[in-house]
């Protein structure tokens, strides 16, 4: 397993890197069945023999109720019992070693339980966030529950 390989997701001017080995596949949005929002899920992807919930994140990494027009790709994260999808505007493969990219661990004051971000990186003069697929799946589970609670408030 090459730990230098990442998938870069770009949405709403945010740069999010996920280790490539935690990504199941990259699909196009036309393969997503858009549904009414429920617990933050904006659609479903039927592929790999499974039904995968699809989420749209905003710039604050919060769940969006509607899919922005610029979203064109779906990145499927490996997860049990089914993969989980994130919509993004652009997606790229990145080799940190070849690109001389050196992420830094979050400072301890920022290393909080509610964030999926584990490292930061300056990429193309912007701040990029590195999240493990596992942390993102846990994060989605956490914020989608809050989403449903807020729905009933």
């Amino acid at each position: 397993m090459n730990t230098d390989l990442y998938v870069l997701l770009i949405f709403d001017d945010r740069y999010l890197f996920i280790p490539q080995h935690e990504v199941e596949s990259v699909e196009i949005i036309s393969d997503v069945k858009i549904t009414d929002t429920f617990e933050g899920v904006v659609g479903w992807f039927f592929g790999h023999g499974l039904e995968s919930p699809v989420y749209a994140l905003g710039s604050e990494l919060s769940l969006l109720l509607e899919i922005p027009k610029k979203r064109e790709y779906l990145v499927l994260l490996k997860a049990k019992p089914q993969p989980i999808g994130i919509l993004c505007d652009e997606v790229e493969n990145m080799n940190f070693k070849k690109e001389f990219l050196h992420p830094q661990d979050l400072h301890v004051v920022m290393d909080i339980p509610d964030t999926p971000i584990s490292q930061l990186l300056i990429y193309q003069d912007k701040m990029a966030y590195i999240c493990s697929g596992t942390a993102l799946v846990k994060y989605f589970s956490h914020i989608s529950k809050q989403f449903s609670v807020n729905d009933y408030d």
Partner: protein, 162 residues
């Protein structure tokens, strides 16, 4: 015949805004950055939702009023001044950096043993990381422990983990 001589030292007086002032040792302020580029980090608490680049390091920028005065909305008049703090990690003894939003430039002052006083009740929020306090121009100023302010331990307390 011996004579008591009050010991005095130089310190930086930091103005965090929101009426909060504290002092740190002269060697604990590495640099002051004026209008640096700040980057926000989503999902972070509002007292540490920004980072700044300093000598290739990505440093958190602490908003002390937001951290200490929970529930109160604090507006910092001038967020263009960032103080870069250097502190020693107690366990590894290595030098670490963090940064702080300041409402004005740090002021170099002289602190004397004669000025030592108690932390007033209305400033008890400083208690976890105040070494001591002194009177300066009719205000009580704590001398704070930066290592604790930037520690995992204090962060855990803020997150309600401990």
């Amino acid at each position: 015949m011996t004579e008591d001589i009050a010991k005095s030292s130089r310190a930086w007086l930091l103005n965090f805004g929101g009426g909060l002032k504290a002092a740190v040792g002269l060697h604990e302020m590495s640099q002051v950055l004026i209008s640096p580029t700040l980057f926000d980090v989503p999902t972070m608490p509002r007292y540490c939702s920004d980072v700044v680049i300093f000598q290739k390091r990505i440093l958190p920028v602490l908003n002390v009023p937001n951290m200490l005065l929970e529930g109160k909305k604090v507006i910092i008049v001038n967020t263009k001044v960032i103080g870069v703090a250097i502190y020693q990690d107690e366990t590894t003894e290595s030098a670490n950096y963090g940064s702080l939003f300041l409402a004005s430039m740090p002021e170099s002052i002289i602190v004397s043993d004669e000025d030592v006083c108690d932390l007033p009740e209305e400033q008890k929020y400083w208690e976890p990381f105040a070494f001591t306090c002194f009177s300066y121009h009719d205000i009580t100023v704590p001398i704070i422990d930066l290592a604790y302010l930037f520690s995992e331990e204090f962060s855990a307390v803020k997150q309600g983990i401990q």
